[in-house]
Symmetry: C2
């Protein structure tokens, strides 16, 4: 308290009036560019980008350089498999080339992340990745989802059953329906993954729509 007035005099520039008028000393332009570039990451806002930039500069420069290299190589090196449309560095991806897989099963998913999920569940057939779903309002039609490629693939005759694993959203269901027609026209078997109560789920907390699917899809008890 004794030297408060003195103190206040020193800090006269802190008044809100000045805060708007006076320009802040600009930070390093490289740092500014880094912070704004980090915002291309999904879910990273201005504050998080800043925190990440400081963290990397202070604690993990080798990691950041490795990341820069990995980003650049991946963006230049990864394209799409010409058969299943999944990400691939080569013309045909590893799964499509793999003759040990169950090649008569074709699982249709919306995204490469879904391939990963189905793969982790133990599926060992082949995939077709739509890279999206039918969405007329966004101008996404069958040609954008590679339906012509899918048609050709079905005509090759290797596929015996098509498993529809699109999301259980309105768009996912519409996409599944569209594809089921394509498959039926070729007299192949078409199935949809089961929707029901998740493993470990308690009935009390399951939503009505899921429970109604679970009831409709009931099976003989063994």
């Amino acid at each position: 308290m004794p030297n408060y007035d003195d103190h206040a005099a020193n800090l006269h520039r802190m008044e809100p009036r000045d805060r708007r008028g006076e320009q802040m000393t600009p930070e390093s332009p490289l740092l500014d560019t880094l912070v704004s570039s980090l915002r291309c990451l999904p879910g990273i806002g201005r504050k998080s980008a800043q925190r990440i930039a400081y963290h990397l500069l202070q604690r993990n420069r080798p990691g950041a350089l490795k990341l820069a290299e990995a980003l650049s190589r991946a963006m230049h090196g990864i394209a799409h498999c010409s058969r299943c449309r999944n990400f691939s560095e080569e013309e045909l991806c590893g799964m499509c080339r793999n003759t040990a897989r169950e090649r008569s099963l074709l699982c249709i998913v919306e995204s490469p992340a879904d391939v990963k999920a189905v793969e982790e569940a133990g599926f060992r057939g082949l995939y077709f990745v739509l890279m999206g779903h039918l969405s007329p309002l966004d101008g996404i039609g069958p040609e954008d989802l590679g339906m012509d490629l899918l048609g050709k693939l079905l005509d090759e005759g290797e596929t015996r059953e098509v498993i529809l694993a699109t999301n259980s959203t309105v768009e996912g269901e519409a996409t599944a329906h569209f594809i089921s027609e394509m498959v039926k026209n070729r007299s192949l078997q078409v199935t949809r993954i089961a929707h029901g109560v998740p493993m470990g789920g308690e009935l009390e907390y399951v939503d009505a729509s899921t429970l109604s699917h679970a009831l409709a899809g009931r099976r003989a008890f063994r």
Copy 2:
């Protein structure tokens, strides 16, 4: 239900037994490297890293390439200011070179992020960035925080008041105490930023320690 058995036969490879034994078809090595490199970002685990990698590949390759460039340039181009230790691309940072700032005030903070915060509050003096706090258990002593550099800076005679703005943690307080001794030895004024009830804060929800500081630091009402 009719073709469940047929179905089950097709999916015999999905049994948990096989899940462990059988090797999954490896994904793209470039993608794997990208996912593992993304984990150098603070707070990003395996799942988030995967989601980010897919997002960039699917929707924002130019952004990812810009990020790669920005990371590499920043890591190579940003070092520390030789006077205040803040991040800087040049020998002396913009703030230390700026003669329009209140050069008799020296605000001491723990990190570059703190400089940003104090700057946004309207402070227009100079800074000294410790890049950490005293932490004997982690082997961080005064020499790691540039105390010798701080001593030299104080000896230059430009500084009239040192404002201690280290965090109000045990380590931050210990660091503030250590520096206050250095400053007093040079017969300069030393102050500590006020701790008290945050603006807009309701007494009911303020913790006892903060409120006790607010009471001890009360000032004449004007």
